[in-house]
Amino acid sequence: MNVELKNIHKHFGNVHANKGINLSIPSGSIQGILGENGAGKSTLMKILSGFIQADPGGEIILDGKPVVIHSPADAIHVGIGMLHQDPLDFPPMRALDNFLLGQSGGLFPNRNAVARDFRRLAEQFDFSLDPDSYVDSLTVGERQQLEIIRLLWLGARVLILDEPTTGISASQKSKLFVTLKKLAGQGMTVIFVSHKLEDVEHLCDKVAVLRAGELVGEAKPPYTTSKLVEMMFGKVITLGARQPAQGGNAVLSLENVSLEDVRLKIRNADLEVRAGEVIGLAGMEGSGQGLFIRACAGLVRPVGGRIILNGRDMTGKSYHAFKRAGVNFLPAARLEEGLIPGLSLTDHFILAEEPDGLFIDRAIGQRLAEERIKSFNIRGAPHTPVESLSGGNQQRAELALLQDPLSLVLLEHPTRGLDIESVIYIWGKLKERCRSSTAIIFISSDLEEILQYSDRVLVFFSGKVSRPLDAGKTSVDQLGQLIGGKNWADMGEAYD
């Protein structure tokens, strides 16, 4: 099916997530959609698959006919099926039941006939799926296969895959690629959303690159990696001179630390962070940097290795123990994890001071709040509930909650979604901390920010951690390639 997107816009509040995107995808081709986090890839795909609606004025045209898609059910009805990064299935149910759930109509499903279809489809693509197995016993790759045949069975002729190669094994990946090529050969339209350059280059007949909500360009094979990276991340802009760190004592040492969560394993990472130093963690969302920073905070317990803080072994200790030892962690999800909706700024500052005593001294609280509001330039009053602050002011409020003195500050996306002035302001405040010997580790998806403010950079890719790179000698282009999983062979000392 030929898919045509015309003038697709999408606003979320003040955020313009898709800016007039025009894209035409011919039947029987594999279209790559490339872009960094927040570039608008997911928004565009969600519009196409009916999860959200585009702003009025845009058009989706299938085989020359404009269609209106209001829900995922509408989407599958016109032949568009989307495979999500986290498979949207029902783990406690059998594979066949998952298969049946999306079917419309019919009170009593004909299980035998459906099971026949299931086996036929699975066989066609050489998937070894048992319709009677429970979904939670399947691997991520197998769940993907289940989802693919389910969508095909429901009549999908356009298949959208969102980061499908995350969390699956190499052999499953090659099988997936074979399947996708076969499907394209049968006239299906495949849309492959990824940030992995290698996968896109290997698979796609055409690549569209999104940046900051705009379609910045398209490319056809043979691809030039550096060209794609430049399109993804834009031109390099310098934010002023870098400030190198003075070498202090080791604040935090990770020795041979191994971490695990459901999706990822990090093996034997080593790092020594010195007082006053800034370490940037780069990588696409979910590449392991989140796990890593939470381990540094004591929020994730390592499965192996030791974490040393100011000479004391803190392995396996709780976040509160880390906190008492001078570590503060500021999470990315401000209203979910960082601040307490319903409480005022004053309440927050009082709580962060960890006061003793029984009765709240409102006068001191008020004074504290006024001071912090002024010195952190927060647009809000002491009694303002945090949820009614703007994102930038919430971020400043979070920073104002940092205790003093600290030996280590851990930040997840400290400036995400903020305007450039706020970014410069916030980093000014953070660099002040560094001058008083506080070390900083931060995650950002903005490569320029990472190179600008870090002394050293760790790159994460699918749980692999690079050796620390000197930020002063690394370019946005190099970093972009590493994030996309390229050139890791040159990283002689990378921890695998």
Binding site: Y319, H320, K323, F329, P331, E336, E337, G338, L339, I340, P341, G342, L343, D347, H348, I350, L351, A352, E354, P355, D356, G357, L358, F359, I360, L401
Partner: protein
């Protein structure tokens, strides 16, 4: 700010009128006069000093339970187990009384010990729901509900087993305690000023705890955002446990009042459902301790006033329960609607 308050009040008033309207419709559908029913309920609760004293008798445990629930609500916990905590308070009080039945200690001391025992009993029962929640991952609603059934079964077991009346056990409860074990009552009335005083002190303490102390602020932080509270350095699960202990102690005090000031023995339905009714009051007042007194008094009046209905109008006294339930639903609905409109504008 003032407009907000006024708007709030208007919504609440609308909810009140609507719930009376719905109950009126129900009454009309069974050919009863709503006016007469409401008038009888009012007369039954405020018509005479004796009746008003009865309202206060119901008000005491209801206020104590509500005070306790304000604490768990603030910590973001739905302490359904409060009913069982009232029962265990009554059981523990009874146990202390029985223990000192033949002692020579001054009765005032024994009464004080019995009430203290009741508070400890309620707190321990509350801590069970807390332990299940914190260490067992059992939602406090399910854990509390289960413990409520266990508490009721325990009461029945004690009344018909170890603590049964000499001769034959009876649903009317254990042997009544001697008069000197009773909290002093107002002459010719059933209300004890001491019990009333304890209930009022309870709500005042909770008010200051939640409004003016670091403890209360931390508790609210835990209730509003558990994760962020932890990251701010608050020992979160400990605060959950504290709230269960405090609520349990206040509910236990309610149970102790039922034994020490009202029934003077353990009876099967010792809690009279005040735990559940307290949940309604707490929901209605939406964390605001100041409103606990008038609303609990109103609910107690409805309960007592409706006792007249079967006698005077051949209506079931559960009408008060219908009115209370409908009222809570409408108030919640009103605040939901208000928020929805506030978001739109």
């Amino acid at each position: 700010m003032i407009r907000d308050r006024l708007g709030n009040l208007l919504y609440q008033l609308a909810a009140l009128l609507l719930s009376f309207g719905v109950v009126s419709l129900i009454l009309i559908s069974v050919d009863a006069s709503p006016w007469e029913a409401f008038r009888n309920m009012f007369a039954g609760s405020f018509g005479s000093l004796r009746k008003f004293a009865e309202v206060l008798v119901a008000f005491v445990p209801l206020l104590l339970v509500t005070a306790g629930l304000l604490v768990t609500f603030s910590a973001g916990l739905w302490n359904i187990g409060v009913e069982g905590q009232v029962v265990l308070g009554a059981i523990a009080t009874t146990w202390v009384y029985r223990f000192f039945l033949d002692s020579n200690l001054p009765p005032a001391l024994i009464i004080a010990l019995a009430i203290l025992g009741g508070m400890i009993g309620g707190a321990l029962w509350g801590s069970l729901a807390g332990l299940l929640k914190v260490f067992g991952g059992v939602n406090e609603i399910f854990g509390g509900l289960g413990l409520n059934f266990v508490a009721t079964a325990l009461t029945i077991y004690l009344i018909f087993g170890p603590w049964k009346r000499p001769g034959v056990a009876s649903m009317s409860g254990t042997v009544p305690f001697p008069d000197e074990f009773s909290l002093p009552l107002v002459e010719n009335l059933r209300i004890s000023p001491w019990a009333l005083g304890i209930a009022l002190v309870g709500i005042v303490i909770v008010y200051f705890l939640l409004q003016g102390t670091y403890f209360g602020l931390r508790l609210k932080a835990v209730g509003k955002n558990f994760r962020a509270a932890y990251l701010l350095g608050i020992p979160t699960w400990q605060y959950s446990m504290y709230s269960f202990l405090i609520c349990g102690a206040l509910a236990g005090a309610a149970g102790a009042m039922q034994v020490a000031a009202v029934y003077h023995r353990l009876i099967p339905s010792i809690s009279s459902g005040y735990g559940y009714l307290g949940l309604l009051v707490a929901m209605l007042i939406n964390y605001q301790a100041l409103w606990a007194v008038p609303v609990a008094l109103f609910f107690a009046a409805l309960n007592i006033g409706s006792i007249q209905l079967p006698i005077l109008m051949k209506l079931d006294s559960s009408l008060s329960g219908v009115l209370q339930g409908v009222l809570v639903l409408f108030v919640l609905l009103a605040s939901g609607m208000q928020q929805k409109f506030a978001r739109r504008s």
